[in-house]
Symmetry: C2
Subunit: 370 residues, 2 copies
Amino acid sequence: MTDISPKLTRLAHSLPSTVPFVGPETQERQRGRPFRARLGANESSIGPSPKVVAAMAEAAPDMWKYCDPESYDLKQALSVHLDVPAANVAIGEGIDGLLGLAVRLYVEEGQPVVTSLGAYPTFNFHIAGFGGRVVAVPYRDDREDLDGLLAAAREQNPPIVYLSNPDNPMGSWWEADDLERFAAALPPTTMFVLDEAYGEFAPASAIPPLDPSRKNVLRMRTFSKAYGLAGMRCGYAIGHEDTIAAFEKVRNHYGMSLMTQIAAQAALADQAYLAETCAKVARAREEIGRIGRENGLAPLPSATNFVALDAGDGAFALKLMNALLERDVFVRKPMAPGLDRCIRVSAGPDDELAIFAAELPGALAQARGN
Amino acid sequence: MTDISPKLTRLAHSLPSTVPFVGPETQERQRGRPFRARLGANESSIGPSPKVVAAMAEAAPDMWKYCDPESYDLKQALSVHLDVPAANVAIGEGIDGLLGLAVRLYVEEGQPVVTSLGAYPTFNFHIAGFGGRVVAVPYRDDREDLDGLLAAAREQNPPIVYLSNPDNPMGSWWEADDLERFAAALPPTTMFVLDEAYGEFAPASAIPPLDPSRKNVLRMRTFSKAYGLAGMRCGYAIGHEDTIAAFEKVRNHYGMSLMTQIAAQAALADQAYLAETCAKVARAREEIGRIGRENGLAPLPSATNFVALDAGDGAFALKLMNALLERDVFVRKPMAPGLDRCIRVSAGPDDELAIFAAELPGALAQARGN
């Protein structure tokens, strides 16, 4: 009998079947009960603007229509908001989707791609997925190491160097001037992918002015964080018009749901709500810091919607995270050496931070006792 | 001065910047006014179930949460509905997204992929996008040519052969027995991708039983057509568990919005509404046929939510489509030789079909006069 079995490509065959990020729902199913505090995914549990909720409810009956594959209205709104031409904006299924397309467009099999050790795992997933090779530069002083990344880029001449600012998982950031110097010193054929998912929470001085005439910078932003729409999957990229045009060659043109386009547009229109959210997040960061200090865990400075709390060393931080999970408090932690001494707590609502505050002493005692 | 310019990969550089499908919104923007009848995209303008609309409105405030990357609840519901294990089901951003992943998983650069001439252009877009080579077999008697596709597959030994059943753009179909013989006669390493986007509208005899133990068959279905959720972008694939597991290696794990998962699950739960929709579509097909015949355009038999009306020859059909577009009636037409004699009219609501009926005589006169 013939073996009937289509063959995966050589590259696909070589890839692991691992998942870049296990979601809290999976953990809940494994545990058999829900979390009481959802503080691990850096979501904006303040929620989207009531105007966004209303726009989604109103649009629901229209969902028999295909989405506009050009996301025209949303692009126009972003163009006005950002003060860049619409031709410099690409829309995608979260920054995740856009990162995948960027890697597909620029990374040939076997090429090195420079990122930080402990930075966004989904970016690494995409590099592997298109046959690239991850060159990971360790953090220095809890920040992505600009000098180290630059040295690696000059040595490796990679098609892409990736940096998030403010960064995840530490919440640290660089000033715009530092990033400008970094970009100017990169090899001329290296694309600087600057992930600004947390940009709305950061000091204005950390965000370089947009200059889409530059061919070697690609900025990425999202509605998942400050706009409170993680569930709708909408990211956008700002870059040179040739770069943005290249996305047309490979993207899933009907990949952005119509509801997502409508929700994102409504969110963008409510800048007052965004400002309120950012103010609430700043207060929640203070509260997480206060809770941490009260329990002997120093908070790291954060320009994001989460705070890394220093638990001293990686083994203890892991025990602490697990003890919190057992107490139905969903948090995550960095795993890279040096960063792994922290747990990472999202700027959740008051009632969930209160649960965290109530459970932390017991979790610490358990972690110490183990 | 150094030329600062990151380079696209050789493959990406070689791809055209064309868009596989221009949407009606783009046409409306170019025309400067909306269509009065939207009968060109095979959408279900009957709309989604009121229960789906209610579920979406209720879920809107929760959209700050990331989607479950496993689409666990939706997969469980599909598993029950289809009576196959959840491990045999993959979820994706429409069949479009799943086709792209299937090509990425199975097609090496330079390999031939067999499809029909005039079949789904987005599939061809994906083949080109991953460096494959389209081998297109002409239709025969307004159906995809099973013998011709089989001969091409035996000659080319392609990693994938693609067939839609019922087919788009002609609305024709094969019986399940014919498809079974076709699948059994394919080369052992060829994956048979069977696109059943229109399956819910077809006679039961046209749908082969699901047998996910077969390694060389991958069925694709969608919530875009009969379930009335084109705007939400949700397709699913049913295949061998090894095939489904391979999707995990390359998919955008957080690509399916939470709202889409909720909408699809609610749609699946309302099978009574689905049956009503299919009955309404059958009546609308009859009405399109009646309007066509009254105007001398023979309707082709259809197992889908659209009807191809025979306008005699390609040049005249093109004039007729353009005359209808001028009259604010959005229809499309096949472009492949032989098929291009038809215009394609979606099974829209009564009021829009009435507009089509009112405008068709004038459009025909204009087309004849040109």
